[in-house]
């Protein structure tokens, strides 16, 4: 390895010059060992940066170590690509502006090294750049071109030159038609994964040709395509197809599934969400063909009756079923209970017609359930919860948002019986401190959602903080009973906390923020409408939580420019911020320009904002991709400035929201309930 020699050479050269007596221990380590040390520096991107800044040899080691690059700006591509010659995966999803010349630069630097590129968030490139890239980087295995809505068949034809391509994502490439897809089918024979979700220009012929030419396909996403029976018969002949997504394909009906009968022996996962023309007749034909099926998603489809459930009975390897949003009958649920297999995952989210009787008979049979989603099953009561907790002791995930008839006593059972829970969604439920105390026994809990739980207080939350040390995600949205004490307990107990939502908890003060500053891994903080929080609290968080990427301080009126300056200084990873209704002015906004990773900014109803200051700030924030602004600013900003920003890849969302006064959380809940009753 040539690089190694040169690095060691450099190190030796440096030694006698600078510190001849000091023995550099890193000299004793081979490059491979240093590389494997570097492999562990993944938590914070800044760590590797610091490493490379130590000395020239470290710099060289680091630049030869890095394989994955996710640059913020396309302007520096030349520099970074010459610095990192070993890069094989290039993620450009943070660069809104990638032109043909950018792609040419990438093509000329990376050449055969490049194996994977992500262009899903980039605009401004055409088939010319794409063709250049594909022709120069012959080893490209993976390309993500999602959201390239402007790309046409010519670009697809250019892509077809990537003979080694195995993964291709073309989500929302609406201008590509059968012709372009045909080129890809002929050119990229090694494709294993292809996503054509929302490629509305593609129909039976293109998909059919893919099935004929690309025999290696494992995963095929055909969601929302106007396809019919015709292409399905050729798809069924794909030998290795494991994952087929047919979400929202309205042209698919029972006859189509009948044509699947001959093949699809390898199919493991099938998604037929929103396929309203598929009934139990079609599903029963699945049982004879797709014997290996493990996952079946029939969300938002035809009603789940006993006939449907019976038709799936023979799928002996089924592990996961999702029936979200379907009309479900009691007999249907009972029939699912009679299946010979024992399901691991079941989702009945937003299913109408889920009753205690049906659900109980189901869960008593499927004792091995690890994931259960009964979101918005509003008819179930403590009977169901009692049965679920009784039979499914191994549950790791339970989502039961808005099961409004479940009384507060029932939640105690969850904590007592399901101790392996890792994810628990109790949003909008009657749970109280007793329930929380019981749930705190689930020591593995990593995600807990307690939004709109008006019965909980600091007392219950303290139990969680004391026992659930693995908690990473905590949602306390509009749980108005929570104050600084509860947050303090969480911040002390759950040092690994990554995401917290304390929006509309109007008793929260700077104290909570100061305690949260101990959670060094915190990346998402939502604290809308916490009027007692000031810039001081925010400053504390920014100093402590260096990884902060999303910050929502909308309507925290006591936060002003004094909070922005430390934010700009410390939160170098910040990507998204909502400053609406705060007291931030031109100065604060302008200071944010120093955060180079800032992409998404929402600034509605900032009283202290002038058109000039806004313009300067927008111009200074080079990486902006999305800005939400009041419509009133539109005529006040110079047109060339807006054009310039749009050319950089920034999208403006103009809003004409009237100024809203804040409502008390309890009043809000009452209002919500009244709305429901209407």
């Amino acid at each position: 390895m040539i690089p190694k020699v040169s690095i060691l050479g450099k190190m030796k050269k440096q030694k006698p010059n600078s510190e001849s007596n000091f023995n550099n221990h890193f000299d004793l380590l081979s490059e491979e060992i240093v590389f494997s040390i570097l492999d562990y520096l993944n938590d914070n991107p800044i760590d590797k940066k610091s490493f490379s800044l130590v000395c020239k040899s470290f710099y060289a080691i680091e630049s030869h170590h890095r394989k994955i690059l996710k640059p913020l700006r396309s302007e520096h591509l030349t520099k970074i690509l010459s610095r990192y010659p070993q890069v094989n995966h290039l993620d450009l999803s943070l660069c809104p502006r990638i032109t043909d010349s950018s792609l040419t630069v990438i093509a000329s630097f990376c050449k055969e090294m490049l194996r994977s590129i992500n262009l899903s968030r980039s605009k401004f490139f055409t088939h010319v750049g794409l063709s250049n890239l594909v022709l120069n980087c012959g080893n490209l295995v993976e390309i993500d071109l999602s959201n390239a809505t402007e790309l046409k068949d010519v670009a697809a034809a250019a892509l077809a030159e990537a003979k080694n391509l195995e993964k291709l994502l073309l989500v929302r490439c609406k201008s590509i038609t059968d012709i372009g897809l045909g080129c890809i089918a002929v050119g990229c024979r090694k494709l294993r994964l292809l996503s054509l979700r929302w490629c509305l220009g593609v129909g039976d012929l293109g998909v059919g040709l893919i099935a004929v030419k690309c025999k290696e396909i494992r995963c095929l996403d055909l969601s929302y395509l106007p396809i019919t029976n015709e292409c399905l018969s050729s798809i069924s002949k794909l030998q290795y197809l494991e994952d087929l997504v047919l979400e929202g394909c309205y042209g698919i009906d029972d006859d189509s599934l009948a044509s699947l009968k001959q093949g699809c022996k390898s199919l493991k996962a099938l998604d037929m969400s929103s396929c309203q023309n598929v009934s139990h007749v079609g599903l029963s034909s699945l049982t004879s063909s797709a014997e290996c099926l493990q996952q079946l998603i029939l969300a938002y489809g035809s009603p789940v009756t006993s006939a449907v459930a019976d038709s799936l009975q023979k799928l002996s390897r089924l592990r996961s079923v999702k029936l979200d949003g379907c009309q479900v009958t009691c007999s249907g649920l009972k029939a699912i209970g009679n299946w010979c297999v024992s399901l691991r995952e079941l989702s009945l989210s937003k299913c109408l017609g889920v009753t205690d009787e049906g659900l109980c008979s189901l869960v008593t049979k499927h004792k091995d359930l690890t994931k259960l989603d009964i979101t918005c099953c509003r008819k179930i009561t403590h009977v169901s919860i009692s049965h679920i907790t009784n039979s499914c002791a191994s549950l790791t995930s339970l989502r039961m948002e808005s099961c409004t008839l479940v009384p507060r006593e029932a939640f105690v059972l969850i904590g007592q019986r399901c101790q392996y829970l890792e994810e628990l969604d109790l949003t909008d439920n009657e749970i109280d401190d007793e329930g929380l105390k019981s749930i705190s026994k689930c020591a593995r809990l990593s995600s807990l959602k307690l939004g709109i739980c008006l019965n909980i207080t600091d007392h219950g939350l303290t139990h969680i903080g004391m026992c659930c040390s693995n908690l990473k995600e905590l949602d306390l949205y509009r749980s108005a009973g929570i104050s600084d004490l509860g947050i303090l307990a969480i911040a002390r107990g759950c040092v690994g906390l990554e995401m917290i939502n304390i929006a509309y908890c109007n008793r929260i003060t700077d104290g909570s923020f100061i305690s949260l500053s101990k959670c060094s891994k915190l990346n998402t903080l939502e604290s809308r409408s916490c009027p007692l929080v000031t810039s001081f609290g925010l400053a504390a968080v920014t100093v402590g939580c260096k990884q902060l990427t999303k910050l929502d301080i909308k309507n925290c009126r006591n936060i002003d420019d004094a909070g922005m300056i430390p934010l700009a200084h410390f939160s170098l990873n910040l990507k998204q911020i909502n400053l609406s209704y705060t007291s931030v002015t031109d100065v604060g906004l302008l200071s944010l320009a120093s955060i180079s990773s800032l992409q998404n900014i929402t600034i509605l109803h900032l009283k202290g904002l002038s058109p000039g200051g806004l313009g300067a700030a927008l111009l200074a924030c080079g990486g902006l991709t999305k800005v939400k602004l009041q419509t009133s600013f539109k005529p006040l900003l110079p047109q060339p400035l807006l054009q310039h920003l749009e050319a950089r890849g920034c999208v403006f969302q103009w809003r004409e929201k009237p100024f809203q006064a804040e409502v008390d959380p309890i009043c809000w809940k009452i209002q919500l309930d009244n709305l429901d009753e209407d």
């Binding site: 396309s74 302007e75 030349t78 502006r97 032109t99 043909d100 010349s101 040419t104 630069v105 093509a107 000329s108 401004f124 490139f125 055409t126 088939h127 010319v128 063709s131 250049n132 022709l135 402007e150 790309l151 046409k152 068949d153 010519v154 670009a155 697809a156 034809a157 250019a158 077809a160 030159e161 059968d178 012709i179 372009g180 045909g182 080129c183 002929v186 050119g187 012929l205 293109g206 059919g208 040709l209 004929v212 030419k213 080079g622 060339p640 054009q643 310039h644 050319a647 950089r648």
Partner: protein, 514 residues
């Protein structure tokens, strides 16, 4: 009782007709008829297969009316001979099969030449090789047909010898047998007729029965002739009239291109048709109104043998010119006109739909215009389809064929890409572009240069592009030697050369500005 039974012997077991050998010697081996087919396949490539099988099917079947016709002809003349020759198992149905096969064969050749002519009409310039190849192909086919014919006739020989003592009666009998009036020139010409095919000459040299063979050949030709006479196009040029068996007429260029051929002797007005002239003549006086004057001019009495008329193109060097060593005569005046216009005249009529295809015969233009634009689905191999699903079926069937991206789209999409460049773009971005340009001069500029060079948008569809330009991947597609006509729509591959020049220029200037 079938009189033809008297003519014995299965003809196809004795003489044969396999391509190369036949060019050298009169076959005496036992090649069967299928052999012939195999050779034909070899000559015409794989695309021919389906046609071939079709022919074989027809060949094995009987064409009933034909047979009766033959019987009638034989009836009168040969009745007295049947008893003496009935011992030999000569099968008339075999002969008929052979004849109908030959007919098919000639038809195919005719189609082939149609294609060649059509192609020649479109792709003005073409490599010499191609023409030579085509000629060779046709010559080979013709040779095999002739040889086949000779051997067919040869099968009759033993019976002939048996029944007829002298040579001259054979000739006359055969002539009547085929219901042909043999031109006197043929009869007087003797054995060493100049022949337009080497193979046949040799065959004749080695044959013991030159005269019979030759006459049989004439007979056969006539049968073909009568069959196809309704078809007026020049493409049935491949009739095998032995040279000298017809009269050669050569019209002058002016004569050919003259819009009218029938002129009023009184006022001088010209007409394309005689009938129209006769209608016109009525205006010149009552004497032209009589039924006799209006009627079609009386035909020559058929009893008198007339020499077949064939035409020569006035353009020296043309294969249709009588000076050419492989001269192929033209059959009618219309053929002469169409041939001359198509081959030697400017293509003045441009298709108003595509503005690409040009024609010198207005009928050709009209035929094209009927279909122009309908075949909008184009494969990279140049084949067009009127239906998208047919294109995709074609692509699914063949390896390496790709759907071609329509031209208008390639233009359209390029236009959108330079929004950012033309509007007031960030100075930074531009500077960056420039830097990149400067630091990686070669790699960066190369592809674009190539593109702009190869970038005359008009040239995509120009026929010139077809053979001369090296569009990448062209060689990948095995083309049948005579594919149908639209191949001059040169295909667009992989979007690599659709970079319109105006865009390229724009881009270059925007980077050079800095």
């Amino acid at each position: 009782m079938d009189p033809d039974d008297s003519l014995s012997e299965d003809p196809w077991t004795k003489p044969s007709s396999s391509g190369n050998e036949l060019l050298k010697i009169m076959p005496s081996d036992n090649h069967s008829f299928t052999n012939f087919n195999l050779h034909a396949q070899k000559w015409e490539g794989s695309s021919y297969l389906d046609q071939q099988t079709r022919i074989e099917q027809q060949f094995s079947g009987f064409t009933q009316p034909k047979q009766t016709y033959q019987m009638d002809q034989h009836g009168n003349q040969m009745n007295e001979n049947n008893d003496s020759t009935s011992t030999k198992d000569w099968d008339p149905s075999t002969l008929l099969n052979n004849l109908s096969f030959l007919e098919q064969k000639i038809h195919q050749l005719q189609e082939l030449v149609h294609l060649i002519v059509g192609r020649r009409g479109q792709t003005g310039l073409q490599g010499n090789d191609l023409i030579v190849q085509q000629q060779q192909l046709i010559t080979a086919d013709l040779t095999s047909i002739i040889v086949q014919l000779v051997s067919t006739a040869g099968s009759l020989l033993p019976t002939m010898k048996h029944t007829l003592s002298s040579v001259s009666p054979v000739a006359s009998q055969l002539v009547q047998f085929g219901c042909v009036t043999v031109p006197s020139a043929t009869c007087t010409n003797g054995g060493g007729l100049p022949c337009n095919d080497g193979g046949v000459t040799k065959v004749e040299d080695q044959s013991n029965h030159v005269d019979q063979l030759r006459d049989c050949g004439i007979e056969q030709n006539h049968a073909v002739d009568g069959h196809e006479s309704k078809d007026e196009d020049e493409a049935e040029e491949e009739e095998n009239l032995p040279p000298g068996s017809y009269e050669i007429l050569q019209l002058e260029k002016e004569e050919i291109l003259a819009p009218h051929t029938h002129f009023c002797t009184i006022c001088g007005k010209g007409f394309k048709r005689d009938a129209n002239l006769r209608m016109h003549m009525r205006g010149h006086g009552d004497e032209y109104k009589t039924p006799a004057a209006l009627a079609k001019p009386h035909k020559e009495p058929s009893s008198e043998p007339t020499l077949i008329k064939r035409y020569s193109c006035p353009n020296v060097g043309c294969k249709r010119n009588k000076e050419h060593k492989k001269f192929q005569p033209l059959k009618t005046i219309l053929c002469v006109k169409n041939h001359y216009k198509r081959t030697h005249c400017e293509k003045a009529y441009t298709c108003s739909r595509c503005n690409i295809k040009k024609f010198s015969v207005i009928a050709d233009l009209k035929t094209h215009e009927k279909h122009c634009g309908k075949d909008k689905w184009l494969c990279s191999c140049g084949t067009t389809f009127s239906r998208k699903d047919k294109l995709f079926g074609h692509i699914a069937l063949f390896q390496g064929h790709t759907p071609a991206v329509p031209l208008d789209e390639t233009k359209g999409s390029a236009g959108t890409s330079d929004q950012g460049q033309t509007s007031e773009v960030t100075m930074k971005a531009r500077r960056e572009d420039f830097k990149v340009n400067a630091s990686h001069g070669n790699e960066f500029q190369d592809p674009r240069d190539i593109k702009s060079a190869a970038d005359d948008p008009g040239s995509y569809f120009s026929p010139l592009n077809f053979d001369t330009s090296n569009l990448n991947g062209f060689q990948e597609f095995p083309r049948p030697p005579f594919d149908e006509s639209d191949s001059s729509f040169s295909f667009l591959l992989s979007g690599s050369c659709e970079y319109p020049p105006h865009k390229a220029a724009k881009y270059m200037s925007s980077t050079e500005l800095e």
